[in-house]
């Protein structure tokens, strides 16, 4: 594979240091105290009002001081669980990171949470520190934290602050400091060009990993995010391909003349790859052991078996099969053998993806000419459809299991694909801004 003028900026490690002792005067607040707790439930919730004044420039920060605050606000507002009180409404100005908080001023504009911070840039290094305050109890929530890295990674540090605030207030893990690998699309429907790309979860920092010379489909990150599995037509035939993200080197896996391989997914430990292999028109699931190259066949049926996904503990695989006559969802042991069907409603079910929390399976459903993204329990109960459109497909989970991203394609000659996210209650449907048309998103784990 030839890739021209593409480069990946190695992500510098972002260091998180708890500012232990630095705030010795402050009484440590109990985590998730009273009013600042958001319970993420199925019911309609009122977004929690918060404020993020521009961070304090403690030296060389320049635009970073404002931009970091803006990214934090955008992350939190984007969840639908928080509502920002605009800066114009602020009464208090935060001019020093260590000055005490004027709770009454924030209470007056109904801000329940306030995030303050400071930024220092010097010697090719940016340091971001922040505090989270619970206005109504008049206390700091959790310890202050400090993140440091290269100035180019400033958005990551903003995401890390937002992740910490989200996590302290909701009690759930965050998902802002993450990347998404996807397929960038261009050209009309009958001459579509596709290339692999990665971006921050919010659409920023796009990097292209391949050129458009051959079709690429359905990429997935390795558990550590350093490799990407996908299906490529670089040889003229669909082949599962492994790319090293750092070097962009690619390697075709499990190549066997006369077969098509596709739909590859990593096991949670990264040591195995489950995928579909088609021979003579029949697709079955196979397992490849990464180190040894050992190949084993998991299903052996004349039906289509594809779109596999591991359970988070690696012991089971959910997949789709039309063995019953239509596409339905199944679960089997990761070593193969008997499978049990879990989907039971009307319509065709496909692309099951196991939640990182293990409790749910997201899927695509086709019914009466419409496509839906839905979720169900792993026993098939409590099915809920979250979206409906001409064509929604291919859900991927945020690492906290609360948000799903997927492809939505519009109909007709001018139809094109875009990435959307929705939370698992079906609220907060929003389009992810991308440079052009985009499809097949796959979410990374939370970055280290």
């Amino acid at each position: 594979m030839t890739v021209n003028s593409l480069s990946i900026r190695a992500l510098a490690p972002v260091l998180a240091i708890a500012l232990m002792g630095l705030f010795g005067v402050q009484a440590p607040a109990q985590a998730q105290s009273g009013p600042l707790r958001i319970e993420i439930t199925e019911g309609v919730i009122e977004p929690l009002p918060f404020a993020v004044p521009d961070f304090v420039d403690e030296g060389g920060a320049g635009e970073y001081a404002r931009n970091i605050a803006r990214v934090i606000a955008s992350d939190l507002s984007g969840t639908g669980l928080f509502r920002e009180i605009p800066r114009e409404a602020h009464i208090s100005r935060v001019s020093s990171f260590d000055s005490s908080i004027a709770y009454e001023d924030w209470k007056a504009i109904n801000a329940q949470a306030v995030i303050t911070g400071a930024v220092t840039v010097s010697g090719g290094r940016i340091v971001v520190k922040f505090r989270l305050f619970d206005v109504f109890s008049g206390q700091q929530l959790g310890e202050g934290l400090q993140f440091a890295g290269t100035p180019q990674s400033w958005r990551r540090m903003a995401h890390k602050v937002a992740d910490a605030a989200y996590s302290r207030i909701t009690g759930e893990g965050g998902y802002f400091d993450t990347r998404v690998v996807y397929v960038s699309e261009s050209g009309p429907k009958n001459q579509r060009l596709k290339r692999l790309a990665v971006m921050d979860y919010d659409g920023a920092n796009v990097q292209y990993l391949t050129d458009s010379s051959s079709i690429v489909l359905a990429p997935r990150f390795s558990p550590t995010g350093d490799r990407i599995l996908y299906t490529s037509y670089a040889t003229g035939f669909p082949r599962i391909t492994l790319m090293d993200v750092g070097s962009l080197r690619t390697q075709t896996l499990a190549e066997q003349q006369g077969t098509m391989t596709f739909a590859p997914r990593f096991s949670p430990d990264g040591g195995r790859i489950v995928f579909s292999l088609e021979r003579g028109g029949n697709s079955d699931l196979y397992m490849l052991t990464v180190g040894s190259g050992n190949l084993s066949q998991l299903t052996n049926a004349p039906s289509i078996e594809t779109a596999p996904s591991f359970s988070p503990d690696g012991s089971q695989i959910t997949f789709e099969s039309d063995r019953s006559g239509t596409q339905q969802l199944y679960i089997m042991s990761a070593t193969g053998g008997e499978a049990r069907r879990i989907s039971g409603g009307q319509g065709r079910y496909s692309t099951p993806v196991w939640s990182p929390r293990g409790d749910m399976i997201a899927f695509t459903k086709q019914h009466q000419g419409r496509f839906h993204i839905g979720v169900m329990r792993t026993d098939g109960s409590e099915e809920r459809l979250l979206t409906a459109s001409f064509l929604d497909e291919g859900p991927t989970w945020a690492p906290n299991g609360r948000v799903i991203m997927f492809t939505r394609e519009t109909s007709g000659a001018g139809g094109s694909a875009a990435l959307y996210s929705v939370d698992i209650s079906g609220r907060n449907l929003r389009q992810i801004p991308t440079e052009g048309a985009a499809s097949d998103p796959a979410w990374s784990p939370l970055l280290p």
Partner: protein
């Protein structure tokens, strides 16, 4: 959509058309451009200089237009229709007469399905065609199959009029049967 200037896109599209099998971009079989090319397909295929004269019964153009290079399928099906079998019988006769050509059978699906399922469905369609051609005496070693799923529609509307044309197999010829 793309931010690329149109001219750039056009150049890109032409470049691809020149080095890849034209059907990958839905040139409609007997369309302009080279015949089944080596570029995108790789392995054992040599480029041919053109489609030839459709009045020449030994030409690729004749195969594509007169014999018919494609077969259509019902929704979510891979079984051959009576009409499809008739076209393929003609293909087999032509291939048995013109034994120097190698064949790639492409399987395609319409957009009413998820991506990976449609890859499998296209593969089933290509295999149905291959099996029929084998049953008509075409040597298995001359043929390979490839599925494009829903990636390469030739018609772009989102109604059955277009879908019916996209649910297809295409028999693509190239020189060099000794693969």
């Amino acid at each position: 959509m793309s931010l690329l200037p149109k001219a750039l896109l056009l150049v890109a599209a032409l470049g691809l058309a020149a080095c890849n099998n034209p059907d990958r971009f839905g040139a409609g079989g007997a369309g302009a451009g080279g015949a089944g090319g080596a570029g995108g397909i790789g392995g054992g295929f040599v480029d041919t200089t053109g489609l030839g004269d459709p009045n020449d019964p030994r030409s690729i153009a004749y195969f594509n237009q007169r014999v018919g290079d494609r077969v259509l399928f019902p929704v979510d099906q891979h079984t051959l229709t009576a009409e499809g079998r008739q076209v393929l019988t003609g293909q087999a006769q032509w291939l048995n007469t013109n034994s120097s050509y190698a064949v790639i059978i492409e399987g395609h699906a319409d957009e009413q399905g998820t991506r990976e399922y449609n890859l499998s469905l296209g593969a089933r369609r290509a295999a149905s065609v291959q099996n029929f051609l084998i049953s008509q005496g075409v040597a298995a070693g001359r043929m390979r199959t490839v599925s494009y799923g829903k990636e390469r529609p030739i018609e772009v509307c989102s109604t059955e009029a277009c879908y019916s044309q996209n649910r297809r197999s295409v028999t693509v010829l190239s020189m060099g049967a000794g693969m």
